[in-house]
């Protein structure tokens, strides 16, 4: 229904305008309807990293696109906040500064949401309270191993 779409759009838009500056250390992003009819309009993402010009997401860099999508994912999440959130390698294209801000936001949200995240990134590993290691010593067969952060970081995507 038009009403429901309008409400969802506004709520996500509002939340995106909070998460984006947290992840980028500034700047702004918002959603924009591409058509006139609430029943079938498309939705576009416009974003302005700090010091840069506003553009559609498609003109941004690989890492900027990914971080903007993470900001949107967290805005979607807040519509129906679940008790836990699982993230699979969302930090892969991010540089150190962006990973740092991403981890800070996750840590803040972890006061009310339990985060379980898969990562190859050393910085993200150091933010975890606990690390679960998975290996395939026997090919094709997964098993858990104890890990400490130093050892995992050495094996990490680094």
């Amino acid at each position: 229904t038009r009403q429901r779409f309008r409400e969802t759009f506004d709520k996500v838009n509002e939340r995106l305008q909070q998460t984006f500056p947290r992840l980028f250390g500034g700047g702004h992003a918002h959603l924009q309807m591409t058509g006139d009819d609430l029943l079938d309009t498309g939705v576009a993402i416009l974003a302005r990293p700090p010091g840069k010009r506003l553009s559609t997401i498609h003109l941004m860099s690989g890492g900027e696109k990914a971080l903007t999508a993470v900001a949107l994912v967290f805005a979607f999440f807040e519509l129906n906040p679940a008790p836990f959130c699982m993230l699979d390698e969302v930090d892969a294209p991010l540089d150190e500064a962006n990973v740092g801000r991403f981890c800070e936001l996750v840590r803040e949200m972890s006061e009310r949401v339990q985060f379980i995240f898969i990562t190859h990134n050393k910085t993200t590993m150091e933010f975890a309270d606990h690390l679960l290691g998975v290996t395939m010593h026997e090919p094709g067969v997964s098993r858990l191993v104890a890990v400490d952060v130093e050892e995992a970081a050495r094996m990490a995507n680094a």
């Binding site: 008790p83 969302v90 840590r107 898969i118």
Partner: protein
């Protein structure tokens, strides 16, 4: 409704019975490429009702361990999630329990069986349990590998659908 434990057996590369303990609010899962990390995410989505079509498989059987160089295939896959429900957020008739165990089992004939706290139940009882908690196979509580790229590449018509699904 914290997730305390995930128990896997015969599910994809987790052929041997394995229990993951999730003791805190910031748990990282690490390991080399192809070792099984994303399979854990698949397991959680599957037990909440996801179909294998969305778990990189084509048929229900694709989630059952299908053998490796040194092991034969097995006959069934089982995933159990154990929740701490002391905040009372779970829905349905199990809402009053402090701990809730949700289990799904599938055999080679493709038939799935669901269990709540050890008792056989219907798939819809599991769906009801998660109603209103923000959880479920297609919720934004689980962001699988590749979801970020899909959002980035989405055309406006596709992004609209993602928005509607989030509501």
């Amino acid at each position: 409704m914290r997730l305390r434990r995930i128990k896997l057996a015969g599910f994809k590369s987790f052929v041997d019975p394995t229990t993951l303990h999730l003791p805190s609010a910031m748990v990282g899962i690490v390991g080399p490429n192809g070792c099984g990390k994303s399979n854990i995410i698949d397991a959680v989505r599957w037990v909440m009702g996801e179909n294998s079509r969305h778990l990189r498989g084509d048929s229900m059987e694709d989630v059952i361990f299908n053998g490796s160089a040194g092991r034969k295939p097995v006959g069934q896959a089982s995933i159990e999630l154990v929740f701490d429900n002391s905040d009372g957020r779970a829905g349905g008739q199990f809402a009053r329990f402090n701990e809730i165990a949700v289990r799904r089992v599938v055999a080679r004939d493709g038939q799935s069986k669901y269990y709540l706290n050890g008792s056989r139940c219907r798939r819809r009882d599991v769906v009801d349990l998660f109603l209103g908690t923000g959880l479920g196979p297609r919720s934004y509580a689980i962001i699988e590998q590749g979801m970020i790229s899909r959002l980035v590449e989405a055309r406006p018509e596709e992004l609209r659908v993602y928005l509607e699904e989030a509501a």
